[in-house]
């Protein structure tokens, strides 16, 4: 964990103090680690990961740690030898990182902070041990693992769309739905990733992403203000995602 630093104070001081959890925006999606008790070894360590720093890099030995994202945004990606990037996904508050590493010895992907992030670190072995004892923790782990599979499958579904319009519209519809579930409003989306990163997630060129976003704006589906998207016409965007020929040329 050379890349991360304890947020403030010593780790011991931070470890297991529930006071810091009460105002955590991700607490509803956090494992019920308090149930494991003080001897359970499950109390998380909270860390800051500054923007641009890596949580893990492909090829490194797996550290058997699961991270909950409290705030900020990260991307997971792979690089090919020629430096070409394939973005696996973007992670935000309430998302979990590292669940797919259980039987691995090396990381297959890299994870980097796109903004300043605060993460809570859980030991994966301690989580598994606690899950054997506590049904609530087992249920949490089951749900998150299955959710992770669903997320990877939805990326797969996005990529089956033949054109940039459908792929990007589907992504925005999906993001708006997630945003709605998290905050109660899906009208404003913060795209903290670059157009390049978004293109490398959707299998599109960065220019194609920009051009298609501008097309959406011209059609009145959304307004672009720097990295902020205001969705004005959810139905129109959904029609575009479904491949309906509503988009004016």
């Amino acid at each position: 964990m050379a890349d991360t630093k304890p947020l403030t104070g010593g780790v011991q001081e931070r470890r297991g103090s529930t006071a810091q959890c009460t105002d955590c925006p991700a607490r509803a999606r956090c494992p019920p680690w308090q149930q494991a008790g003080p001897s359970g070894g499950l109390a998380p360590v909270r860390r800051a990961l500054p923007r641009g720093e890596h949580l893990c890099k492909a090829g490194e030995s797996v550290r058997h740690i699961v991270h909950m994202v409290q705030s900020g945004e990260l991307k997971t990606y792979r690089l090919s030898a020629d430096g070409r990037q394939s973005v696996e996904g973007f992670r935000r508050s309430g998302d979990v990182l590292g669940l797919g590493t259980l039987n691995r010895s090396q990381y297959r992907h890299s994870t980097v902070a796109l903004t300043d992030c605060v993460l809570c670190e859980f030991s994966y072995p301690a989580l598994l041990a606690a899950a054997m004892q506590r049904p609530a923790i087992a249920a949490w782990l089951n749900e998150r693992l299955m959710n992770e599979i669903a997320q990877a499958q939805s990326a797969n579904l996005l990529l089956c769309h033949p054109g940039a319009v459908q792929r990007l519209a589907s992504y925005l519809v999906q993001s708006a739905a997630e945003r709605y579930a998290a905050t109660g409003s899906g009208d404003a989306l913060e795209l903290v990733m670059t157009r390049n990163d978004l293109g490398d997630y959707l299998g599109l060129a960065a220019e194609t992403v920009s051009r298609t976003l501008n097309r959406f704006q011209a059609s009145g589906y959304l307004r672009i203000q720097k990295n902020r998207l205001h969705i004005c016409d959810h139905a129109g965007l959904q029609a575009a995602a479904a491949g309906l020929p509503a988009l004016g040329a």
Partner: protein, 269 residues
Amino acid sequence: MSTLSIDTSTLPAHGAGADCRSCRTAAVCALAPGAGAGGQLPARRLRVARGEALFCPGEPVADRCFVVHYGVVKYSLPTVNGQHKVIDFAMSGDVLGLAALGFRRHQGSAVALVDSEVCEVHSSALNGAPLLLYGLLSEQIAREQLIAHGLRHRSAAQRLALFLLDLSQRFQRRGYSAHRFRLSMSRQDIASFLALSAECLSRELSGLRAAGLAEVSEREVVLRDLGGLYLMVSDTGPPCLQSAPVDGHSSCTSSGAACRRPTDWAAIT
């Protein structure tokens, strides 16, 4: 697509159970480590005829998942425009519907591509072996991510090569030839899985034949040059047939650029 019918007349004699101890799939069965001290997993063997669905979207999950005893089952998810995208093909020993255990109802469908048999396992059997369950889920996350990774910025030729290499490795692991095998899936299923159009797929199949790498006639596959196929998708390989960046289905265009992508699905076993 009709729903599952259970032909009890030909099922193993001991109740409706399946005997893991004498099972010839045990060596590759993902759930085999979960068989208890008696070497027996509480499972029920079901027959699924070719074209029949093991489950359909909307059907109750009822805390059951399945492991393929023999045959091939395709798993697909509905897309926003009312079509289906093939997500993966399950072969003997592979688990189906594991991720659905978290849901009340199935989101996807599982349809047998050939006459198949599956073992139905209740989630309580897996909950008794939590490490196995978490390991399987973790593995599946990794495989789904690799499949999606294989579809990003990959030429049609590379996707097809990855698909054939993945099958080759999976057949080999099951004790069959890595060079010669029979496809259970239609061209349409393969095209859906690889997110290619049918025309593009058949053009790429001709391309592989012309390059002397692989011959696919009807359902019979002969991989003439495994090394060449690996080079096509490898990180450091020489220029290959076609490797234009993919922007959706349209890109079957050829370019002279080298392929520099790692072997993905093929590396998963």
